[in-house]
């Protein structure tokens, strides 16, 4: 520093040249930068290793069976015939149930918290609770689903471990996350827009419905899609509320309602059950099912990213 001060008092072109170009960056900075880059490499390297390992293990399935056969076959104890059709169907139906449940409830709860609730101890308590619930392990929600939904369902049907209960349980798992992301999207709509609405004599509901909600919608939907990507991979709660982990029989003629209220499985639970089987052929099947699940999750995430980039609004 002292040197620079000295130069500044007699700023000749040569002195400025020396001061601006003469110094090399300290070694510590290079080392620090290298460490940061190394951390990134470790994280990505592990991921790449896992992915390639799974993909290589799954190769026999693609080569011998082909994608279509694997994806359209039902569960079977015969590795030559086993496929993930029921798992895919179960996962898709679960997501439909989750979407139908969490969009209205999650968005409504977020609107209440952000737009209507006055800032008092109850609101702060509710906000904190929602945040804490988002951090509760999913298996706990599985127990809750078992204790509440399964018990209630027992009164209405002979197979209480059905898709509807699975969907309700998964909805509980992701609802706090949906509320938080939706609330953040609503909060990002600037107050000036709300004031503009109120300034021309709109009621709170009119401002929310005509302005705040539409402008926050891209953010809300991005959050919901990312949440779906998380829900589709959840295994533990589904195991507790009875997604079948072994082959199950169901008449081919069963309608959608029967399927929703009957036994089911999902992709993650299929993977879980196959991974436990002793036959070595099932290792390739397990890897193949994992690849399918990864592709589905990546596709959902890609949709979320595309939507966000297209509709994101800068204020």
């Amino acid at each position: 520093m002292a040197v620079t001060t000295g130069i500044r008092t007699s700023a000749t072109s040569a002195a400025v040249q020396r001061a601006l170009t003469g110094q090399s960056r300290p070694v510590g900075e290079w080392i620090f930068q290298g460490l940061l880059f190394l951390s990134l490499l470790v994280a990505l390297g592990m991921l790449a290793w896992l992915l390639s390992d799974v993909f290589i293990r799954s190769m026999p399935v693609w080569e011998q069976r082909g994608v279509v056969s694997f994806v359209t076959s039902n569960l079977s104890s015969d590795p030559e015939k086993a496929g993930i059709a029921q798992g895919l169907f179960g996962s898709v139906m679960l997501m439909v149930i989750v979407i139908v449940l969490i969009i209205p409830i999650g968005v409504a709860a977020a609107i209440y918290l952000e737009e209507y609730a006055t800032d008092n101890w109850l609101t702060r308590f509710l906000n904190t609770t929602v945040r804490n619930l988002a951090g509760v392990p999913a298996v706990v929600y599985g127990l809750l689903g078992l204790g509440v939904f399964v018990a209630v369902m027992r009164n209405f049907t002979n197979s209480p471990l059905n898709l509807l209960v699975g969907g309700l349980t998964l909805s509980l798992v992701v609802l706090p996350i949906v509320i938080i992301t939706a609330a953040e999207a609503l909060r990002s709509v600037p107050r000036s827009i709300r004031e503009a609405g109120f300034g021309v004599g709109a009621t709170k509901w009119e401002v929310v419905r005509s302005h705040v909600l539409p402008y926050a919608a891209p953010g809300i939907f991005t959050g919901i899609i990312l949440t779906i990507a998380r829900a589709i991979g959840e295994t533990a709660p589904l195991l507790l509320v009875g997604a079948a982990v072994a082959g199950f029989g169901q008449a081919a003629s069963a309608g959608v309602v029967d399927k929703i209220l009957g036994p089911y499985t999902a992709l993650p639970t299929t993977i879980f059950s196959w991974a436990r089987l002793p036959q070595s052929e099932f290792r390739a099947l397990t890897a193949a099912a994992i690849v399918v699940l990864l592709v589905v999750v990546l596709l959902i995430n890609a949709i979320a990213i595309i939507l966000r980039n297209r509709y994101e609004r800068r204020w």
């Binding site: 006055t118 600037p190 827009i193 021309v200 004599g201 709109a202 005509s210």
Partner: protein, 294 residues
Amino acid sequence: MNEGGDPVTLESPVLLEPETKASPSIRVTTAAASAATPAEGPPVFELKKFSAYYGSFRAIKDMDMVIQPNRITALIGPSGSGKSTVLRWLNRMNDLVPGAHMGGEVLYHGVNLFDKRVDAVEVRRRIGMVFQKPNPFPKSIYDNVAFGPRVAGYKGKMNELVEESLRRAAIWDEVKDKLKSPGTALSGGQQQRLCIARAIAVQPDVILMDEPCSALDPVATLKIEQLMFELKQNYTIVIVTHNMQQAARASDETMFMTMGEDRAGYMVEIGSTSEIFTNPKRQLTEDYVSGRFG
């Protein structure tokens, strides 16, 4: 356009001590003081012992003042003196600010705005607002203007109302061919005139303007000022401004506020603009308008 500068014989400006209440005799003085505008009825706003708070902080203390119809009243004063706060209480916009509360009375055409039976939504329909930063909705120009009338249940022909509002806001010629394009795509000055059109469209009685030109260049500012001059035939305008030249050239009445030791804003003086700028009653006002402080 500088009406305050017209050679009109002026009597003394209204000088309200914080402890005096606005009395009818003072109002008469005001009427006589501004013969430039048509004879007037009772005041639009009357503040009595008005105080405003944010939480426990008192932002404004014991303010008494009267705002006359069909005039442009400018609120001037240093930052933090509570000009915007006063304005935002006049149409209960501050209802929406957590922790904001007030004391005293604000009478609007003799009705206490803070009476429990008064509906804040109806208040804002009659008392429109234009904000410091142009804040058009990210919707079409048409929808920006039509939103207010729609929520008010306007039964007439919407196209005509939109055109009329845009014309009166002096922006029709610039946007008539692109009513479907987003209001946010306009320039800053155009956006602000669109916001004025949006405020006019609900056919208010008063338009409050919170530093409407602070984000605009001088040309756009001039347009807004001309517009205010046109609008005061039909509306009462209250404008907060940091720009003393603007207050001097574009307002009829000027109120000067400053803040005390406790940082609470209070009104120093209100009077006709020419009096405030050329012959103020208070030394504080003179120091401020002559640029010696603030």
